[in-house]
Symmetry: D2
Subunit: 239 residues, 4 copies
């Protein structure tokens, strides 16, 4: 399982409060959690690197892509977004985190607006497990809490998840489908809600466990690079 | 659309506090709401009536069955439970309310334990619409509140709903999938959570609207009484 | 229910064999079937009309869009494709026919390659009803046949349908999920497979019934023109 | 992964033609295929053994149950059927083969009639892969054929599968959803259609591969023996 953790990596460099939480970037914190869980082949990629961090040769050796983006979704090239979706269609797993709900790859793969209602007041989020036997919920207790998080609330404008794994309760009175599993083409996609940059969410042990579980769940047996085409075929039975 | 509202109708006769809220029974309150919404053919049925309120001729003229039961699920005859499921398979719509999650017909139709976690402390429930365009959510605001309700919390041990329409937020910190739509056989089923007998939930205008919407959504074009059998058929093409 | 039937309308003008079957175009045949079934407000639109037949004012008054396209998908403007998807998100129903599986609007809404395997040898197609109580299958027999059709075969690279209504059997030995129902945003989508331009499929009474059923099933209660945005909201409960 | 292969084991003893194909019983053929694929802990159980082959201590050490039954479904005790379903709810995987579609455990878990149309004329069945990346389809070609099989045809009266993996084409002109994946409670269920007792289906290498794949796919991380109950819980937040 070869994992690439992609991060916009702008907040951490522009905002000292974010840098204080994630001095090496959100991607580094997530990559470290994956490695600590025994995932050996983990690399990171960021928006301001050449080819926006994902040149073809890197994408071609990525089995699982973890994505964090927020304010600069539009800067991600359309060609890159398309290449990512193509690779998901071919089998690559995709773990989309937090504000990545509005990223180009996720919106293209969902086919819906993917909008949410939100409030970044740093309130309590309590995440309930709805599907306790789902692999992404392995070793996750009935619920876990994040003392300070951004709030997202319904309606989350996505297709009905193939499997709904988590639902969030927010102190301010709202709910959200926080763990959504999809199959698209040959690939699997898991959306996981928490992770606003101004809170230490990705240092939380249970959040890390969910991300590791999700990476393992979306990991494919194989990824095909063959393009999907409409193909003429001969009859099997005589006509 | 011929609707039968079935109620256990024991609490109202045994508990003066319940009788004060529903003097003619929960079934009467729901039937009245349906009639007020323009549903013309509405009858009621209760557990202590002959044939437990649902003799074959009544079931046979029921297009939509609304079900409220709580502490006496086991008294409902297995033959009646089976007949109800058979009719749902043939197309009858079924609206299951609140503690009806543990009724024989619902459990048989789901094939899962249908258990919940609960607390009847009369706390605030806020019900969020997750699928705003679903017919059951028609004219329902983004959320609505019930000042005092029993709490149900996840995991709700049901199959993944075909469509999830409502999620509840509870003051005490829990969440629940409160509006779940299913198709089983030719019939449609809608589970709607609120309605503990000691609270005036079925007098709430929005709750009534949801129940009316649900009755209309589960209503079939036709119901077949033909039994489902394994049937030998001749080939269409020459063998 | 205001229906617009969109057609590429090139084959009929370029190929005398197609013109012989659909002298006024495929769109005209479908529109006539809808009108004959009692749908009053039906208009047609074609690729070579101004604004490719769908200027904003027409799209804004379309509740149900029926789409037939084949060899010129790429000529449909990206802005138009986006506007169609936006309107589906807002509630507009979409009936996608045959080779429309590879149209821009359908592919964007699905988020997957939408490719098929195919053979246009004019063989027998037998379409089986898998979901007899689905409204799109109303008054459709257990199966119906088209003596000569193009073959499409699996894998059909679409997301798992919310409801699978038809499966096709082909003389040459293949199968295909020929009737696929989806909900995306506020809108409903129905994909219906038959309809190669060189065969008189849209003159078939059962095919017409399915299209009429599908148009009725995808028809929305309302369509919202409000754009979907990420919206900041205040807390409901005190923080 | 501890697998138990259950077989009615009556045809093989009563019908010499069946005995000629499966001298040691269908269960023995399937168990051998599992062992040959590297599954180490495989046992068999049959209807006429004590406790119908599944005393509590055996069921309690079964992670995956493979089920073949046909004409004596009704002899399986209700208590055993209930115990099997309880264990599926707790996480046990269940692979249901062929005429097992009408077994007590499968029907209880589905909640629907589970009926089919059929014809045992020994015609060609061609099984197409609809979901090529599903683990149950691993190393299965685009389609595979069984020269002589019983035919099952739609409508198959089951809930919409969570994932549809295979569709069958029959020489006589019918189609069938031959590979259906479900999650129910903590457990996974896979229904696989082929396997009439008078044909050597379970000696086919691809059929064996699918059964092995299915056993692995339904295998749980853990199975809980705790009964599912409605449980009163205290609030998390102060009321």
């Amino acid at each position: 399982m070869r994992v690439t953790v992609w991060n916009e990596f702008r907040h951490e460099r522009a905002n000292p409060a974010v840098a204080a939480i994630y001095p090496a970037g959100i991607h580094a914190a997530i990559a470290q959690a994956l490695r600590a869980a025994g995932v050996e082949d983990v690399r990171t990629a960021t928006l301001d690197e050449p080819a926006q961090g994902l040149p073809p040769e890197i994408l071609a050796r990525t089995d699982v892509l973890v994505w964090w983006g927020h304010q600069h979704h539009d800067e991600v090239g359309d060609d890159l977004a398309r290449a990512i979706c193509d690779r998901v269609h071919g089998g690559m797993g995709l773990v989309v985190l937090h504000s990545g709900h509005f990223s180009k790859p996720f919106r293209r793969l969902m086919g819906t607006p993917c909008t949410v209602r939100w409030r970044a007041d740093g309130e309590l989020e309590r995440i309930w497990v709805v599907a306790p036997s789902h692999p992404v919920a392995a070793a996750v207790p009935a619920y876990f809490e994040l003392a300070r998080e951004e709030m997202y609330c319904e309606p989350f404008e996505v297709p009905e998840p193939d499997e709904l794994v988590f639902i969030s309760w927010f102190k301010g009175g709202e709910v959200f489908r926080s763990g959504c599993a999809y199959r698209r083409g040959r690939g699997r996609i898991f959306y996981f809600r928490p992770g606003h940059e101004t809170f230490p969410t990705y240092h939380d042990a249970t959040v890390q466990r969910v991300i590791v579980n999700a990476a393992r769940w979306v990991a494919p047996a194989t990824v095909t690079a063959e393009p999907f085409v409409n193909l003429r075929v001969d009859p099997v039975e005589p006509l």
